[in-house]
């Protein structure tokens, strides 16, 4: 019997066994490998977002079950709150500074140091250094820099014979100071993305343009930058989504002050929703943030997608 099997249809028997093994192995593999990711992701990412939508309809302090249904009142309150307007406007400013100052700065520096030489490597490391620091550490160091009694800005002002300014306690200067720190912290990240892209631009193209008599500025403008457009689009996306989420730097620097003038959406959500346990109200803020993020992502994809086709 066994000999017959082996000699008569060895190939088929083998194939059957393989196929059967695959099907049953497939099922076990699915059952073991997939659920951990699905459970973790659903429990800690999807469910909380659904919860935020649900909670935002209640006036709720987070204890017991939410019962005081208030409809859209939380959203109404949010839209009427002047501090929320400040937070939105500050967030918009962060986006603008990231796109109009940080990205060009990063691009300019990338063009200066993208070639692989030892000095360039050193400069790249220095420029990337702030990115690896924790936001809290960066925030504290700059709080010192801007401190009116001890700080570097005030000693510079003294040297010039001026009165010291308590930058972070000043309505006019606190937010520009925060924006400076954010550019300082993140431009290196964008620079690295551009350097990677610039290094993948074919050398022949750059050489050819130079032989034709193009100046370095023209090479950058007409050859290199168009060829790294994709990297610019990606970094622009990171810049916008990152700006929407700025929190860590502001807490150590100003904690939203003076008189709530430096809040962003997330510090607002934290101070007015979580710290005071207005879970319903905070959830409404979260939903607005979420809708903004998704909306911007779609809009951005559309416009940049069209741009690259044209």
């Amino acid at each position: 019997m066994t000999t017959l099997d082996r000699t008569a249809v060895p190939r088929r028997g083998n194939a059957d066994r393989v196929k059967k093994g695959l099907v049953s192995g497939k099922f076990t593999a699915l059952l073991i490998l997939l659920p951990p990711a699905l459970i973790l992701f659903s429990l800690f990412v999807i469910l909380p977002l659904a919860d935020a939508v649900y909670y935002s309809g209640f006036s709720w302090n987070g204890y017991g079950a939410p019962s005081d249904f208030v409809g859209t009142q939380n959203y109404q309150r949010l839209l009427d709150h002047s501090v929320f307007h400040t937070a939105l406007w500050n967030t918009a400013k962060l986006i603008l500074v990231s796109l109009l100052i940080q990205m060009p700065l990063a691009l300019g520096l990338a063009l200066l140091v993208y070639r692989k030489t030892p000095t360039n490597t050193l400069f790249r490391l220095v420029f990337f250094l702030p990115y690896i620091l924790a936001e809290v550490a960066a925030g504290l160091i700059w709080s010192f820099v801007f401190d009116g009694d001890y700080g570097i800005t005030s000693s510079l002002l003294h040297a010039m014979g001026q009165e010291s300014v308590y930058v972070l306690a000043d309505h006019q200067w606190a937010f520009p100071a925060i924006m400076t720190v954010i550019v300082w912290k993140y431009f290196g990240f964008h620079m690295m993305i551009y350097i990677a892209a610039l290094q993948s631009v074919p050398k022949d193209l750059v050489e050819a343009a130079k032989l034709e008599g193009a100046k370095p500025r023209q090479v950058a403008l007409f050859v290199q930058i168009p060829l790294i457009k994709h990297a610019l689009v990606v970094s622009g996306f990171f810049a916008i989504i990152g700006s929407l989420q700025i929190f860590d730097i502001i807490i150590p620097m100003t904690n939203g002050g003076p008189s709530n003038s430096t809040h962003t959406i997330v510090t607002y959500l934290y101070s007015f929703g979580l710290s005071r346990l207005n879970i319903g109200f905070g959830s409404a803020t979260a939903v607005v943030l979420f809708v903004l993020a998704i909306g911007i992502a779609f809009f951005y994809q559309r416009t940049t997608g069209k741009g690259s086709k044209a």
Binding site: L40, V45, F127, A134, E135, I152, A196, V266, Y270, I294
Partner: protein
């Protein structure tokens, strides 16, 4: 020729100016840690009069400093471990096993790429509390892992898809199961991408502030960013102490970066190509 030299000089000057602005505050913090508070007031930027390491030594002898670092280290390592194992397992399924609904489930898991973490922080706090996890390491580890999964799965799947198909077919003919194959072939062949994702997850976890701030109240399990804020609160205007503390937490980050540089750059390059 002359033109090129002037241009190069100009380039170096620009680079040096930017580099000093970047590094100035960091050096000031490092020097500040060696100064007395009164010296700091008169001389915030330049070298200290005498290199007195008292502030640094005081912090290093304080058990809290080490406890905060230890907590952060444990939480970050566990987050990396879980993200790599759970993420790679799921990515392997989508890369090698064809089954009904795979595409839909994958899109679901990638939804996380669009969700701002901060938007979930309030209900996350409630969820963690209802699960009885407040003031435990898991309150930080599990949400961090969950939020890191989307990117990890995306990167892992792209990498697994490029592994040679012949290897896979040969292994099956030899009777190797999917699980065996994952463990003995896919994972060992994927060390570069595991390292890149691991480094990024580690750094993110190490620096995370919002989540620990919300779910940890007990000082004994504070991570170091929380410990630093706590320390700042205690020493309010003793900037020399605060600067010494901050500098001490920057040093491991810089060492880690120098060691892991290769993978960080690889990650950034990969990210810019993939979008």
């Amino acid at each position: 020729m002359k033109n090129i030299t002037t241009r190069n000089t100009l380039r170096v000057i620009v680079l040096i100016v930017v580099a000093s602005i970047v590094i100035g505050p960091l050096l000031a913090a490092f020097f500040g840690g060696f100064k007395g508070n009164s010296e700091l007031r008169t001389n915030p930027l330049w070298l200290p009069d005498s290199w007195d390491a008292g502030n640094y030594i005081g912090i290093l002898l304080d058990g809290n400093f080490w406890r905060y670092l230890g907590n952060s280290f444990f939480i970050s390592l566990m987050t990396v471990f879980l993200t790599l194992v759970v993420g790679a397992a799921a990515a392997y399924v989508f890369s090698q096993i064809h089954f009904f609904g795979a595409k839909m489930i994958l899109s679901y898991l990638l939804l996380g790429l669009m969700f701002p973490f901060a938007a979930a922080i309030l209900p996350l706090f409630i969820k963690v509390r209802d699960l009885g996890l407040l003031d435990t390491y898991w309150a930080v580890i599990l949400p961090q892992t969950a939020f890191g999964l989307s990117l990890a799965i995306l990167l892992f799947k792209a990498f697994f898809d490029q592994l040679p198909k012949e290897l896979f077919e040969a292994a099956y003919v030899d009777g190797c199961s999917y699980l065996r194959f994952f463990w003995s072939f896919t994972l060992p062949l994927s060390t570069p991408i595991l390292a890149t994702v691991g480094v990024f997850v580690f750094v993110q976890s190490w620096n995370n502030f919002l989540l620990p701030l919300v779910v940890l109240n007990d000082r004994s399990i504070y991570t170091w960013p929380l410990g630093m804020m706590q320390f700042q609160g205690e020493y309010l205007t003793q900037w020399n102490m605060i600067l010494a503390f901050v500098t001490l937490t920057i040093i491991p980050a810089v060492i880690f970066f120098l060691a892991a540089q290769k993978y960080i750059v690889a990650g950034l390059t990969g990210g810019s190509v993939k979008g």
